[in-house]
């Protein structure tokens, strides 16, 4: 892990856990933490999640034990018990999910004992140890899923053929989480699957509780939720596949092929469906191409994103849209094994070979760019990074302005867009992304 990180593009494990629980239908996050934790998480969400803050019981409404110096010295277990007791009276929920912060973990409060006491009374309550120092918000998502699979899902259910669970998209960290989940759910449903996606409007806690009956789990991320899939397999016996987040026709084709194969669906059925969808995609795209060509909207691109988007956006730009990704920056802190894994994800059909770097710090991106792209020194023929595009987060606007490039925020933080249910997954998601990319190029018309 890096020794320091500039302007982190994520919250801590507690923050990720809180947002994940907020997105879970009927669930109430209960924090055993210092007073400012969720306030700061909310403030970050306010500045980074495409204007989406809170939900049924999120943001500044989350119950929190607000531990003080007294609890640091004498322990906070009594305060937690009192907090939970009153939460049950005041806040109406179907599942109470206790998560812990740095302070209460360092002082060693025995949260499990408190939870067990309430469980014995029949209260629907579980917990996860999510001290902020354990990792970033993507890891907090992982910890919540693990606790859910271990402590909430019914065990020993019979497997249902064609039933799948799908995860790997982190609510609010992926600001397109709703649209991305719904997009994939819809595709799989069209292929005859029954799909549980945990966090959409169509998911419910009673159904989630039966997730153990799925015949297959699909993790649409090389990183987020993979450990949880292993735990799921161990506890409930469901196998899983891991795929990159499928954005646009090429990646979605591969995704459906893989899912179909793992679920034992006739490949011909999958291919027929894909052919239809691709035809629709290109039919819709066709009228845009006159403007695309006449305005010369092909762009050189720097892609900066989390582990999901760095891969998916590059693949889409290179293999579907025909743009020229030159530099790909992973902004997550990744260890060497993870870095190796991700480096292998760039076997692009188009044959392009962008430079791939692992860099958590926004202001260092320009250094990587300069190392790989010749500077102009008055030479007669000069292959400029122009016209250019920076596809990253709103933190990368500074870079885009300095390069005179157009810019679109997709990866967290997204401060300069309002996102509700827009999604980039699937075939149609590819069209949405083209609208947004080309829209950014012509915004000043």
């Amino acid at each position: 892990m890096p020794n320091f990180i500039e302007r982190p593009r994520y919250f801590c494990a507690l923050g990720g856990a809180m947002e994940t629980i907020t997105a879970l239908p009927g669930a109430i996050p209960v924090l055993h933490a210092a007073p400012g934790c969720a306030g700061n998480i909310t403030w970050t969400q306010n500045g980074g999640s495409g204007l989406q803050v809170g939900g049924y019981c999120g943001a500044l409404h989350v119950p929190c034990s607000n531990v003080q110096e007294k609890e640091v010295v004498f322990g906070g277990v009594d305060r937690l018990r009192e907090e939970i007791r009153h939460t049950l009276d005041i806040i109406a929920g179907e599942l109470y999910f206790v998560i812990t912060g740095c302070v209460t973990e360092i002082i060693g409060d025995d949260v499990r004992a408190v939870i067990n006491q309430f469980r014995e009374e029949g209260v629907p309550i579980i917990h996860a140890e999510t001290g902020g120092f354990k990792g970033n918000s993507y890891y907090g998502y992982e910890l919540v899923l693990q606790s859910l699979f271990k402590n909430y899902l019914t065990k020993g259910l019979e497997k249902k053929k064609n039933k799948v669970n799908l995860w790997g998209i982190v609510p609010f960290m992926d600001v397109f989480w709703r649209g991305n989940l719904e997009g994939l759910r819809l595709l799989l449903e069209k292929l005859g699957f029954e799909v549980n996606t945990f966090f959409t409007q169509d998911d419910t806690l009673p159904e989630i509780q039966k997730a153990g009956s799925a015949a297959l789990n699909i993790v649409v991320s090389d990183l987020y939720g993979v450990e949880a899939a292993e735990l799921f397999k161990e506890i409930h016996g469901t196998p899983f596949i891991v795929t990159p987040l499928p954005v646009g026709p090429s990646a979605t084709h591969e995704f459906l092929r893989q899912a179909g194969e793992a679920a034992g669906i006739d490949p011909a059925t999958v291919e027929k469906f894909v052919t239809q969808e691709k035809q629709r995609y290109y039919k819709y795209l066709e009228p845009l191409l006159e403007g695309y060509n006449d305005l010369d909207l092909q762009r050189h691109v720097i892609v900066i994103g989390d582990a999901n988007y760095a891969v998916s956006l590059t693949k889409f730009l290179a293999d579907d849209l025909g743009w020229l990704p030159e530099l790909v920056v992973f902004s997550d802190p990744l260890n060497e094994t993870q870095q190796q894994l991700f480096s292998q994800r760039f076997d692009l059909e188009s044959g392009l070979q962008p430079v791939v770097v692992f860099e958590t710090d926004t202001s260092e991106v320009i250094r990587h760019f300069k190392q790989n792209w010749p500077e102009f020194h008055g030479q007669k023929y000069y292959n400029a990074f122009a016209p250019g595009f920076v596809l990253g987060s709103s933190l990368d606007r500074e870079l885009a302005l300095s390069l005179g490039a157009a810019h679109l925020s997709v990866s967290f933080p997204v401060a300069n867009r309002a996102i509700i249910d827009r999604g980039y997954t699937g075939f149609r998601g590819g069209l949405r992304l083209i609208e947004d990319l080309l829209g950014s190029c012509i915004a000043a018309r």
Partner: protein, 488 residues
């Protein structure tokens, strides 16, 4: 309690100002008990998250143009730089400055660091902050984690002072020490006062103008110019050079009593720069008091009176029209104490009836030893206003709104007004500290409230379809039933 710049830390507001976060009563009771320092805090049996010193300190300091922040914390405590960055970019934009991200590095404390400490990481991060940004000062902020494990931050900084040629200022702002997040502003200003401000070499006609994002900077510059004074906006969007010279100014004045008291009184005590102790400049009475305070501190009483007369005459006819439109509307206020007690008055000047004043904390006395001016003023009115104090406890606020059913909920600080909308009650959130600033600002704010009340379709439609997370049982309970008795 005098402000001691020899100390490394500023005491919390609970310890220094007798600040409380739990109270229910009336403004007259609150002020009379505070004046005798007889007010005891009441804790809650249930609480919701609030905010912390670290967030406030970092948010404020990261706005200084040429300073860098090194946060010795797990990444979450630095993630709020994303929120601060948005504010900062907005500020850059209104000033036509370059689009620049805040300069902010976090030491990414991990589980291992909580056992073995992370002094080396801190050292490396400070060095890197200097290498990367070439700042004119580096503020090193603490966190709950660095404090609980007892990291020797000062030791690391002391060592590096030999090596790094700009001020290195520790900011002690760990969240668990205080329920009053404004303690973080004091921590930030303590660091500025201790490590940045230099003794005066000359006297200037500058006025230290303590504020947040400074949207009214042009208006203030114009007003002050009439009095031959020049504002220096502190602390966001200032430079370290400007801050180092604020001991030379003719006076200090603030947009917010909570925000400005520590620095204002500190500069007065140590460098003789008079601090204007007045109402906040919101609305007519507030602006009168604020400008007269400034006039008195700088010997410009006559010019100030001329301006006041002129402006009041100018806005009078338009104000009457606005008052007629807002007459009879009822409001509940939920804000920080200084803003809250000032805005009750502002709303009354606009013709509204204020049913309740909730504030996020209450200081029994300011650093200059008296009860907050705005609270005193409010308590001297004929009507005794019902008030409460909670650290943004939304369950209390919503219960209150459910019972009082005002036409309007006027709040400050993100995260509460949306819930009023979910209840179908019109909400006006005062994000900009210069809303209702002075005479013209009062008119503008009046129009904004008229607009807010003019079309309620979104709130109405939303409220009909959205479920609140509160149980029916809770909404029927007495609002303050979970406030414990004060421990004497």
């Amino acid at each position: 309690m005098p402000i001691n710049i020899q100390n490394l830390e500023s005491p919390t507001r609970e310890n220094r100002l007798g600040a409380i976060t739990g109270y229910q009563g009336t403004i007259k009771d609150l002020v009379s008990k505070a004046s005798g320092c007889a007010l005891k805090n009441r804790e809650r049996l249930f609480s919701q998250t609030s905010a912390c010193s670290s967030g406030c300190a970092q948010g404020h300091l990261s706005g200084i143009r040429d300073a860098a922040i090194v946060s010795h914390a797990p990444i979450g405590c630095a993630a709020d730089s994303i929120g601060s960055n948005v504010q900062n970019k907005w500020g850059n934009k209104v000033r036509n400055w370059e689009n620049q991200n805040v300069k902010f590095i976090c030491t990414n404390m991990t589980e291992e660091d909580t056992v073995f400490g992370a002094a080396n990481k801190l050292r490396e991060a400070i060095r890197e902050a200097y290498r990367r940004y070439r700042p004119k000062a580096i503020f090193v902020t603490t966190s709950c984690t660095s404090a609980v494990i007892g990291e020797d931050i000062n030791g690391v900084i002391d060592e590096l002072r030999q090596e790094i040629p700009v001020p290195l200022a520790p900011v002690f702002c760990e969240g668990f020490r205080s329920k009053v997040w404004a303690s973080g502003f004091d921590a930030a200003y303590h660091a500025i006062l201790t490590w940045i401000v230099k003794p005066p070499e000359k006297k200037t006609n500058n006025v230290n103008m303590i504020n947040f994002r400074g949207s009214a900077k042009d208006a203030i510059t114009n007003i002050f110019a009439r009095f031959d004074l020049k504002p220096v906006f502190i602390a966001p969007f200032s430079t370290i050079e400007e801050l180092s010279r604020i001991s030379e100014s003719a006076a200090t004045i603030s947009i917010c009593g909570t925000l400005g008291g520590y620095l204002g009184n500190g500069l007065e005590e140590h460098y003789g720069v008079p601090y204007v102790k007045s109402l906040q400049p919101h609305g007519i009475a507030g602006m009168d008091s604020w400008l007269r305070g400034l006039g008195k501190a700088t010997g410009r009483e006559e010019k100030v009176e001329e301006f006041i007369v002129e402006e009041k005459k100018r806005i009078a006819p338009e104000l009457e029209e606005i008052r007629a439109q807002l007459h009879g509307k009822t409001a509940v206020v939920g804000m920080g104490p200084s803003f809250g007690h000032n805005y009750v008055r502002v709303l009354e000047e606009l013709g509204l009836e204020v049913l309740w004043g909730a504030t996020w904390h209450f200081d029994q006395q300011y650093d200059h030893g008296t009860c907050p001016e705005s609270s005193l003023k409010l308590s001297s009115a004929e009507k005794d206003l019902p008030v409460s104090v909670c650290d943004q406890q939304n369950f209390e606020i919503l219960n209150l709104l459910h019972k009082l059913k005002p036409d309007l909920y006027v709040s400050r600080h993100g995260g509460t007004s949306v819930w009023s909308t979910k209840m179908g009650i019109a909400a006006a959130m005062v994000a900009d500290e210069y809303s209702a600033f002075g005479y013209q600002g009062l008119l503008d704010f009046g129009y904004r409230l008229i607009d807010t009340l003019a079309n309620r379709s979104l709130a109405k439609n939303l409220a009909a379809r959205i479920e609140l997370p509160y149980s029916d049982w809770w909404l029927q309970q007495e609002t303050f039933s979970l406030l414990e008795e004060a421990v004497i």
